[in-house]
Symmetry: C2
Subunit: 505 residues, 2 copies
Amino acid sequence: MAGTDPVTDVRRRIRAAYDPELLRSAGHQLTDLLSEHLARVERSSESVLNWNEPPDNVAVANGRLDDKRRPLDDSQALADHFADLVQLTLSRGHNLHDPRYIGHQVPASVPIGGLFDAVGSVTNQVMAIYEMGPWASAVEEAMVQRLGEQIGWQRDEFAGLITHGGSLANLTALLTARNVSLGDVWEQGIVRGGLPPVLVAHAETHYCIARSAGILGLGTRQVVRAALDDRRRIDPNKLDETLAELRQRNQPIVAVSASACATPIGAFDPLEDIADVCARHDVWLHVDAAHGGAACFSRKHRHLVAGLDRADSLIWDAHKMLFVPALCAFVFYKDKAHRFEAFRQEAPYLFDPSAPGLADFDSGLKTIECTKRAAALGLWGVWSMFGPELFADMVDVTFDLGRTFYEKLAAASDFHPMHEPECNIVAFRYIPDELSDAPPERLGQFQLDLRRDIIRSGEFYIVPTKVNGIGALRCTIINPLTEETHLDLLLDTLREQGRVLLNQQ
Amino acid sequence: MAGTDPVTDVRRRIRAAYDPELLRSAGHQLTDLLSEHLARVERSSESVLNWNEPPDNVAVANGRLDDKRRPLDDSQALADHFADLVQLTLSRGHNLHDPRYIGHQVPASVPIGGLFDAVGSVTNQVMAIYEMGPWASAVEEAMVQRLGEQIGWQRDEFAGLITHGGSLANLTALLTARNVSLGDVWEQGIVRGGLPPVLVAHAETHYCIARSAGILGLGTRQVVRAALDDRRRIDPNKLDETLAELRQRNQPIVAVSASACATPIGAFDPLEDIADVCARHDVWLHVDAAHGGAACFSRKHRHLVAGLDRADSLIWDAHKMLFVPALCAFVFYKDKAHRFEAFRQEAPYLFDPSAPGLADFDSGLKTIECTKRAAALGLWGVWSMFGPELFADMVDVTFDLGRTFYEKLAAASDFHPMHEPECNIVAFRYIPDELSDAPPERLGQFQLDLRRDIIRSGEFYIVPTKVNGIGALRCTIINPLTEETHLDLLLDTLREQGRVLLNQQ
């Protein structure tokens, strides 16, 4: 009779969806699928990127939504259906754990980090207020303390939070800087009396910094590009001149936004000097250390972020060089007093005056998110299991391999590294004999076309960039399983595919 | 010799962390732990909320970070360590799947949704550009299409995206409204010539709307509170007057922000009438349908969101009434032409002019996030396995139970429902005889104190609110396993704990 009575059908469906035995069957299948997939990917038995055109992928995703196979009373059949969907997802995804994945600043994450994350997802642990996610909130606070100490601060003097990504982290920190620097702008809005307030930023900073100016009502045209030196780092002397000039004409300055490192070639700004300049002009120093913050863990590379502890605010993405799954971005304030400056509100149904002491653990007072994922579980779990030494190791291995790659490029007559790398980001061009005299545009377009051929072939994943407006190739060695031999293979692959491309043109 | 040579140690640690066999052992342990935990929680064998004071939880979290047990060469021992950490996490968390969890608008999510999510986390599937997460991007697009069709729109006419939470979703939509309504504000910033631009919002809207005004440079004081009717819904006639007055004095209007539903008592604004008013004054209509969007799936309750298809922008949290794990918030634009209006930039290393046709699938052009989680996998998986009928069922079951709860409250002489519920949100007070003549402040404080005692006891999880400034209790029945008997038990528990509290006072 089941299934004929609508009420019974409702109950059957809900019971099936919430059945702990389904979770068990599906979880065991998932585990085997993931571990077998990971083993294949780590030994490069799959394509790096499974390329399918967007309309094809969308049609397949839509097809499964129309699937009428719904054996509600058979949890094994449901688990098999689940496994099919997982298999499909794996077969059309991007295999970041393949050592030939050396593309964007998104890591081959520590796989077990994703399992810690799953504890939060399956049980739906969230924050906003401490009581909604007491353990999630505590784990976040513990990680804020640890990373802050790595920066070089004293516990209880600084404050921090986790948010969903580096862009949001930068926005939050710059919002705080705006509110602190411009008075009652939070309540009144941007009021223009004299000259418009400006944000001074590394000339090649991540696009989210200019976006922040657009979002915050400052306007993207109010971003003053800080001049760079020949290593594409902010030039402190020129910054000094810029700030002096702005101060002289009484133009409000929201902040200086430095980079550790900037994305195009991984250039680390000289933070000590920049901090001196900012202090001299009494300007808020923000540092985007999304990528480079991790250098704090490395004895060998820590010098790259010397002065980071002098930033008024900074961001640091654990989902980059701490190798945890996306997203887990930290915002830090050197002075704890700034932790509630981004937002200045209360929501009576959320923040309970009957327990005011809890406010410091109510994440919603400090972050844009109200409901927030338990984003620190992966980092906490990986640290607990492998220690901070693992983070140091992964920074060292990948940064050192960036140097090795550079040396290979410099030694090859048909490759041209665009810079001496400071970390694991390397921009370069492949210049076969046939193109040695080509006009720059032609050469740049060749890099972009060649890259597209290569990623679609599934043999490597690398990314495009532009250097001085001309196309180039860019690698981020952000997989600790990548070895020197893979880099040799990349050069050979570029030569081979380059030959094919040249023959087509 | 292993462990004595630092280089060997580095390799051992990385190899251990990335070992597919560790993932297998840990995943199987995780599966058993989660399914057993879920079974216990669903039958109320645990406390709803495991209450520990913040310093205690933080100390315990920190303690595990200092644990030196790191058996790198023994994957079974590592998996056991993992299981310990998971067990700890479960033992100190919040058990949303307990039918006595009827608190904030965060659901007892469909557990298997978290396993789909884990596929993304373990393999670190992300977006920003299509090629970084082709399947993740396609699944998101498929879900945008399906939900948009549920709203009542034609595929290809609207556009949408997923972002990390309702607050961020509202911010994104209002950013678009600001940019469209105020001209070149993105580039120039907020320029004040005449009167400052205002945002007109439901007087009891979620705090993130006023925050958005603060973030976007409008200023929180530039939020005009739309007057409400006696059911706490925007009064369209008064809105008409407000907009007429603003237009008459030439004050720029960013948008009207309506609610479906507003958080305090779950009041659904009359969207058809509001849309008429907005059309008359040529004002952008935004609707926060974070909670109520799901009513689109229900034949019985769809009338609550009649007119939703007339919104210029709206948000809809799948991690609320579609019962998927946090976070999965949708932003929709009725007119596809608005999809790139929030941000107007390019990042040369991200968006490749060699393949411009892909831009529509490059999520980073439409969202604040650059790197973005594969946030749609859970929703896609649950829909594929159980069909859209499951969403309809869960709306019906929980909304209907809200009505039942109201009737119980109304029938009890010592309880006072604050409103007739339109959905699964019910605000009320417990008024024992001893307090029947108490001053309002005393009565309000009693509700808050009583609630705190109850949640710390682990017997129920309910939340506080204020109605007309006076404390009250609030339930969201957002667990489809909650039944009428649990609500009876809640009333009894309030009476018993209320007695204890009165005796202490």
